[in-house]
């Protein structure tokens, strides 16, 4: 990693800021899909209008500015700048060097293209070499098999399993906390270089 290496550019996607006008319409569509919404938050799913999404953008940027503990990115295709997902770090704990990572690809047609894996790599590099965090956490419900697979492939390991902590579709599911230490990530990078 050199200073001149671009931090936010991947092969197919890049990490970018929010585009209020264009993104709100698209993200509003995603919120109608429970498969997108449920893994993201424990709150009951409900669709949002573009106006509500725009309000959320304002809240996100306000929180980023005021707390310095949130880093929110959009995931966009390099070729045409189209919005395909979001990735963010919440609850950045500077004293202990920890943060929570969330990632989601909106349109089912954009899933299984490796966009999330690429975005995850970019965000991990950002977290470990720019924010200089010590570790990263991610929380996932056990029904989110694709999400668990994605994070495990990226080197996260299961650390906590809160049994039956979510109730959806009439059954209780475990909530799994995954984590990766900077030292583990660095080891991975070295083996990639060799």
């Amino acid at each position: 990693m050199e200073i001149k290496d671009p931090l936010f550019e991947g092969k197919n996607i890049r990490l970018a800021s929010i585009n209020y006008e264009k993104d709100a319409e698209i993200e509003s569509k995603w919120t109608h899909d429970p498969e997108y919404m449920r893994p993201l938050r424990p709150e009951p799913v409900r669709p949002l209008t573009p106006a509500q999404v725009k309000k959320k953008y304002e809240a996100i940027e306000k929180e980023e500015e005021e707390t310095k503990s949130l880093y929110h990115f959009t995931i966009r295709l390099c070729e045409d700048d189209r919005l395909v997902g979001i990735v963010r770090l919440d609850w950045v704990d500077w004293a202990n060097g920890n943060a929570h990572l969330t990632i989601a690809i909106g349109d089912p047609a954009d899933q299984r293209q490796g966009y999330d894996a690429e975005a995850l790599q970019l965000l991990m590099r950002y977290a470990f070499t720019e924010l200089n965090l010590y570790r990263l956490s991610a929380v996932m419900v056990e029904f989110n098999e694709a999400g668990l697979d994605l994070f495990e492939k990226a080197g996260f390991v299961e650390e906590v399993r809160r049994r039956q902590a979510q109730n959806r579709d009439g059954r209780h599911w475990d909530v799994i906390h995954l984590g990766i230490l900077r030292s583990e990530w660095e080891m991975q990078q070295r083996s990639v270089e060799i």
């Binding site: 009951p44 920890n98 570790r135 906590v160 809160r162 049994r163 902590a165 230490l181």
Partner: protein, 186 residues
């Protein structure tokens, strides 16, 4: 039907008397060991006024995802600590519990465990929650033992999540489901 939902063997849970609790909490916050045993946030002492503001906000907002109580001894009505449920997700029946005994002379004598038993009974028989979660730092074995006694089961550890006193410590997660609680108390 238990007529005395808020009373245990050693302690009872009462409402937040804002004046009194702000004074006590500010005093307790000067005890860095107490603070670091029960809070993950970076330690600093809090003024009575700052503490009061937090409590006033809590009371004013009447947040339906939080229930906080003062722990008092049954013997002489002394305020010795606090216990509360927060982050309640009503759709899942999940929540976290937090507890702190600020008065050191009451450490290690069963007061915390008793308060935990009372709030678990409240969580499972009045709020009808499905499970209660907590986390605790690995350098706090007294608390871990107390939670085990109350019926909490180990659910994992977030590795090296705290950096304190010059080294890294795990955060341990524990949980109890309503079935587990019922089978302990039937």
């Amino acid at each position: 039907m238990n007529q005395d939902l808020f009373t245990g063997n050693l302690v009872r849970l009462t409402t937040l008397d804002i004046e009194q609790v702000s004074e006590a909490e500010s005093r307790w916050s000067r005890d860095s060991e107490y603070w670091r045993l029960q809070a993950g946030e970076t330690y600093r002492p809090y003024s009575v006024q700052a503490t009061k503001k937090l409590y006033e906000k809590y009371v004013k907002e009447d947040d339906p995802t939080m229930f906080a109580f003062i722990i008092r001894t049954i013997d002489d009505d002394r305020m010795i600590g606090e216990v509360g449920l927060d982050g309640i997700h009503w759709n899942h029946g999940d929540c976290f519990v937090g507890i702190g005994i600020g008065e050191r002379e009451f450490w290690g004598k069963g007061y915390g465990t008793d308060a935990m038993n009372v709030i678990l009974r409240y969580a499972f028989t009045e709020l009808n929650l499905w499970r209660v979660s907590l986390n605790v730092f690995e350098y706090n074995p007294r608390a871990i033992r107390s939670y085990e006694k109350a019926g909490f089961v180990h659910e994992g550890r977030v590795r090296a999540a705290l950096n304190r006193a010059g080294r890294r410590w795990d955060i341990i997660y524990m949980g109890i489901t309503c079935q587990e609680w019922q089978s302990l108390h039937s």
